[in-house]
Structures are given as C-alpha cells and as structure tokens.
C-alpha cells in the first residue's frame, strides 16, 4: 500500500506543469449575449437529462415494475444520454463565432456540474438557514426560538452532550487502535501484513445498518430464566458468573457501547492511511536512530509520530466529520431512546417523525456551523497543496 503514497507524490510533481490550454484568443471580451449563452449551455444538459429521467422513472415505473428495464434505461441515460447531451452542446458551441465560442466552451464542461451543485447543495443550504428561523410548518418567522429551544430543551441538550462525547471518544480510539495496528503489522512479512490488515479493513465495506444488526446481536440480552444467552457479550458475562445485563439500556454507558460499533468500522480506515504514512518515513532515518541506541518506543514517539503528524491530522478530521454526522447507528440500535440520541439523529427525528421543520432545520444548521472550522481547515490544506504545485 506504500505505492499509493508514491503515486500521489509523483502526481503533485507532475501537476507543477498544469495550466489552462484554451486556444489563444485576442478578440473582444465577453458581452451580455455571451453570459446568456453560458447560462444556457450550463442549464441545458441537466434540464434535458432531468426531463428524460422523469419520464423514464415515473412513466415506465408506473406501467410495469420491471426493474431491469428501468435500470437499463437509467444506464443508457446516465452514460450515453448525458454524454450525448454534452456532445450536442459542444457541437452547437463549436459552431458559434470564435468570439462566443471561446467564452462559452468552458461552461459546456463545468456548467452542468455547477447547476447540479447549486440545486442539491447551495440552494438547500440557504433554504435550511431560512427555515431554521421559522416555525414547525415552515411559515412565519420565530427568529431565534428554535435555537433557544435547542440549547434549553433537555432532550436536545442530551443529544449535544452525546455528540460531543462521540466526537472525542470515537476518533481517539479509532486512531489509536489503527495506528498501533499499523505499526505492529509493519513488523510482519509483507504477506502477513496485507492479510491481517484486510480483516481490520473489511468492516469499511459494511453499511452502518448492517453493522448495527451485527452488534445488536452481540449486545443481545435475555432476562434470567428466559433461556440461554445468545448474545456473545452476555454469554461471556454470565459464563464468568455474573447476572445478564441489558447493555443497551445502561445509561450512560450505552452511549459507549454504540460508539464501539463506529470504532469497529473506522479503525480500518485510520490504519490504512496511517500505514501508508509510516511506510513513507525514510528507512535511513529510522536506522540511524536505532544505531544511535534509540529504543523502539523512542523511535515511535520521536520520529514516526512527528513524521506522520500531517497524516494524523487528516485522518482525525476525516473521522471527526464522519462521527459528527452519524445517524444510522443510533437510529437502528435505540432510535435515540435511553439517553443515546445524537444531533444528526435528532435532526431527522424532529423533521421526519415529529414533522417539525423549524427545529429540524435549526439542528441541521447547528451540525453545519459546528463543522465549519474543519471545512476551513480542509480548504486551507487544499490551498497549501495548490501553492506547492
């Protein structure tokens, strides 16, 4: 897996050469008509594709529920249809006089994506902000009432507290275990390393819902006298002479039992990325330290950790973002009851179960605002990368 890092390093080097290759053009600048055309080519592909999809998805699906037909249709539209639309727009643009062609052509390429991002991310974000100042039906302005509710209601305060705990505990555990495993597996032969890593990594492919069922089975509880314990944890717990425990009802510890599920899922991710980082630490530095008499744990703390600190930050922020938005695990395991609710799950419950749009929107805004520092961090990191190019 070390070659992944090498590949990326060489990509950055090559990128130093990247610069726009539009044909050179020294004519008059863009005018009003150019702007109209830019908007036109940007909108055309999404709108036409939507029209066809709408027809395919609703009309076809209503007549007979033959999924194969629907999927094949969607594939044809998704690959060939969208491609044909791009082709058509390009064909039209290439027939424009050069003055327009030069300015319009880039929007044939990036326009449709910008339109889709606007519809599915920018527009909803703006509307959600507005809704968060409105009442449960999304009418009339109640201004800060929804936010005051969030920070005074015991239910949402509990969700906030739990979310903060999740964000601290899960990344810390996932990164520690992942780092420890990566360091140890590094000392095995290459086959043994790849083999053992794939077991740790495997849960990454499992859905949160699937993982929740897997772990509900482990935490399964039967009161004494209602048969043998079939949950592994209670099986072990009773075998060493204890009374069976309803793990998921034990406030506040049940929060921790739910966090274990996400740790189980995320350690593989931390391990793979950190392992690539560890392998990129130059061997001669490590050897020099060992020749100078450094103990293994000194090599780890004084050389490996500082060398991979930027990778550690990336892994931590990534896991924090995932954890902050966790919804499925809590929803499936406890529906947020027994003191286990988290903000992301609470948002869906408020909006979906209770039909309270204002409260749901305000919780979504809290989710976004809390994550904004990490967003800024990501953007900064990206800009630093670009500056290196």
């Amino acid at each position: 897996m070390a070659d992944i890092v090498d590949e990326e390093a060489s990509e950055v080097e090559k990128a130093a050469e990247a610069r726009p290759i539009n044909p050179i053009y020294k004519g008059p600048g863009p005018n009003f008509l150019t702007q109209l055309m830019r908007i036109g080519v940007s909108l055309a592909v999404p709108l036409i594709a939507f029209g066809i999809l709408y027809w395919a998805g609703t009309v076809l699906l209503d007549e007979n529920a033959n999924r194969l037909v629907v999927v094949v249709m969607a594939l044809i539209i998704g690959v060939l249809g969208v491609f044909a639309l791009f082709y058509g727009m390009n064909w039209l643009t290439m027939r424009l006089p050069e003055r327009y062609r030069h300015f319009v052509l880039p929007f044939v390429f990036v326009g449709p994506a910008i339109v889709l991002l606007t519809i599915f991310l920018v527009y909803p974000t703006v509307v959600t902000f507005k809704l968060s100042f409105q009442n449960a039906q999304g009418e009339g302005f109640v201004w800060l009432d929804n936010y005051i509710d969030i920070f005074t209601d015991s239910g949402t305060l509990e969700a906030l507290r739990n979310s903060v705990l999740w964000v601290i505990i899960v990344p810390a555990l996932a990164v520690s275990i992942g780092l420890g495993f990566a360091v140890l597996a590094d000392k095995l032969g290459s086959k043994g390393e790849a083999f053992s890593k794939s077991f740790i990594f495997m849960p990454m492919a499992i859905s949160f819902v699937g993982a929740s069922i897997v772990w509900r089975f482990i935490y399964n509880f039967r009161p004494e006298g209602f048969g043998e314990q079939i949950g592994l944890l209670n099986g072990i717990w009773t075998a060493i002479g204890n009374e069976p425990v309803a793990w998921l009802l034990q406030e506040p510890w049940n929060n921790f039992y739910l966090m274990v599920i996400l740790v189980w899922l995320q350690v593989g991710f931390a391990m793979v990325i950190l392992s690539a980082g560890i392998k990129s630490v130059p061997d001669d530095i490590l050897e020099a330290a060992r020749i100078d008499g450094a103990k293994e744990f000194q090599v780890f703390w004084r050389i490996i950790i500082p060398s991979i600190s930027s990778t550690l930050v990336v892994v931590l922020t990534t896991i924090i973002i995932t954890v902050w938005k966790v919804f499925d695990i809590v929803y499936v395991m406890t529906s947020g009851e027994f003191g286990t609710s988290v903000v992301a799950e609470r948002m869906v419950t408020e909006f979906f179960t209770f039909g309270n749009e204002g409260a749901g929107a305000a919780l979504a805004v809290v989710l976004l605002v809390a994550i904004t520092p990490l967003m800024v961090l990501n953007v900064r990191r990206f800009q630093a990368q670009e500056a290196q190019r």
Partner: protein, 303 residues
C-alpha cells in the same frame, strides 16, 4: 521473503524466517504476532457470529449461543431456509433488486458529469475557476441533513417523491463534490505537454477529453466508482427520506432496518438479512480493494 533480503538487519520491516527453520519462523517476534492475532480475532468475531447464525435453524439460534457450534461439532444442523425466508416472505429479494436499481445509475451519472467538470476545472480558463473549485472543496463537508428538508419540499412540488429518479438525482448531486475533487486532482496532474501537442495537432478540447483524458483517467474513475457504489448501496438516510419504505421501492438497508423494527428478536432472519445486505459490498470490496483504498484516501470526508 527471498534470500536476497536476508542480509538486512532485523530492525527492517522485511521479515526473514528462512534461516531459522519453520518453527523458529513461526515464533519469531511472537509477541507482535500474538497481539495482531488477538486484534484480528476480535475484529472478525462479530461478522462471524452473524454468518454462523444465519445458517442455523431458528430453534437452534434461539436455544443457545452461536459459539456453541464449535464445542459440539458434528451434532450441528445447518440450513438455508433462513435465507429463502428472508428473500421471499420478508421481501429482501425485491429490495436487493431495488438497491441495484438505485445504486447503478446513482454511481454512473455523477461520474460522467464530474469527469467533464474536472477537465474544465483542470485545463480550461474561465472566470471564477479558482474560487468555484474552492467552493467544491468546502462542499465536501456539508452534512446531508442540511439538504433534506428543502429537497423534500422541492420533490413534493414536482411530484418526484418516492421515485427512483429522486434518489438517483440526490445521490448524483451529493456525490459530485467528491467526484469533481478526485477527478480534477488526477486530470490536472496529466502532463500539459500532452494537452498542448493534442491542441497543436488540431484536436478540439472535446476530442482531447474523450480520446486522451478519459482513457488515461480510468484508475481514478474506477476508484470513485467503487467508493460511490459502496456509499449508495450502504446509504439509509437518503433512501429513507426520498424513497420511503413502500415494499415496491424499498432498498435493502431500509428492509433490514424495518425487519429490525418489526421482528427485533427473530435472529435467524436478522442475521441472514444482514448478511444479504453485506454480501455485495464485501465482494466489491475484496476484489477491488486497491482502488477502494485510493478513493478512500481522498474521499472519506464526504457525506
């Protein structure tokens, strides 16, 4: 593992059992191996329990723990009836097809649109090129919850709720930031001399894109495809909100969630259902792990 590496000191990561004989090799660095073995066992036990239970008869699943099958080997009964029950009477077969119907288009559509956009961002000059891309990077982090309410309202007005296109489009929109980000970084790193010579030879940008850029970008297209496939297949939230739980459109994660709600103690069904949900992603993951790791490195901030 070959003798060529045998001269290196033991502090190197290469591990050299050859000189020591088989048993010495097995016990070489045994504390490290023991820790690794314990962690690996802890990590696979949860999945193993589900797998074993899904093949046991319902009575046996309820009578004793799944781990007892290892203590009384030989007297165990195995069955496939849990799977046939879940697939037919609990509707998982239908849901499996629904999940495929959602996942395949929702994986393919963002790739096409993002590939064009990535090429534009990497190699074309237009106003706002820089800050629009910074905006895309920022969008990687926006929580899905932000988009749910307005989109649901929008879908309700145009009568799109509960249809496959609703989910295809939602996944396309939410998948685009990551797709554009990944593809643009890769396409932008292709050598500019190549692009220039294509343009000198008279290729239009469109021809350069289809005949040069797309064939060269197959690895990154594959890694995004795998990532998006797993993401859409494993998604519960978008399917729950925009598609709903009607049996004719319900996806497999929702089917499992509903089974969990209605028959939370029917472990023979739940384990079989969980395994059906996990089967396809696991196959995709195990066969295409390399590409997946690559996509993950850049992509896990999504969602």
């Amino acid at each position: 593992m070959t003798t060529t590496t045998a001269e290196k000191p033991a502090t190197q990561s290469e591990y050299v059992p050859d000189k020591r004989g088989f048993w010495a090799g097995v016990f070489y660095r045994w504390p490290v191996k023991l820790v690794i073995l314990i962690v690996v066992i802890i990590w696979i036990i949860p999945t193993l329990g589900v797998l074993v239970s899904s093949f046991r008869p319902p009575d046996a699943v309820n009578a004793n723990g799944w781990w007892t099958v290892f203590t009384n080997l030989g007297s165990n009964e195995w069955t496939l009836s849990n799977y046939s029950d879940v697939l037919s009477s609990e509707g998982f077969g239908n849901s499996f097809l629904n999940s495929l119907s959602v996942t395949i288009p929702a994986t393919v559509m963002p790739i096409t649109i993002a590939a064009f956009a990535a090429y534009g961002f990497a190699w074309m000059e237009f106003p706002g090129r820089q800050w629009l891309f910074v905006l895309v990077v920022a969008m990687l982090v926006i929580p899905l919850q932000m988009a749910l309410i307005p989109l649901l309202r929008l879908y309700t007005t145009i009568n799109l709720n509960g249809t496959f296109p609703a989910v295809w489009l939602a996944h396309t929109g939410f998948g685009l930031p990551l797709a554009i980000y990944l593809l643009r970084n890769y396409i932008g790193s292709l050598p500019s001399s190549m692009m220039e010579s294509a343009s000198i030879d008279g290729a239009t940008p469109f021809e350069t894109f289809t005949q040069l850029v797309v064939p060269l970008s197959v690895p990154v297209l594959a890694s995004f495809a795998i990532f998006q496939f797993l993401w859409v297949w494993n998604d519960l939230l978008i399917a729950l909100v925009f598609l709903g739980g009607e049996p004719d459109v319900r996806v497999i994660t929702l089917a499992l969630n509903n089974l969990n709600g209605s028959r939370g103690q029917a472990w023979h069904l739940l384990t079989a259902g969980a395994f059906i949900t996990m089967a396809l992603p696991l196959v995709v993951f195990l066969s295409l792990q390399r590409y997946f790791v690559r996509g993950l490195t850049a992509g896990s901030v999504k969602g």
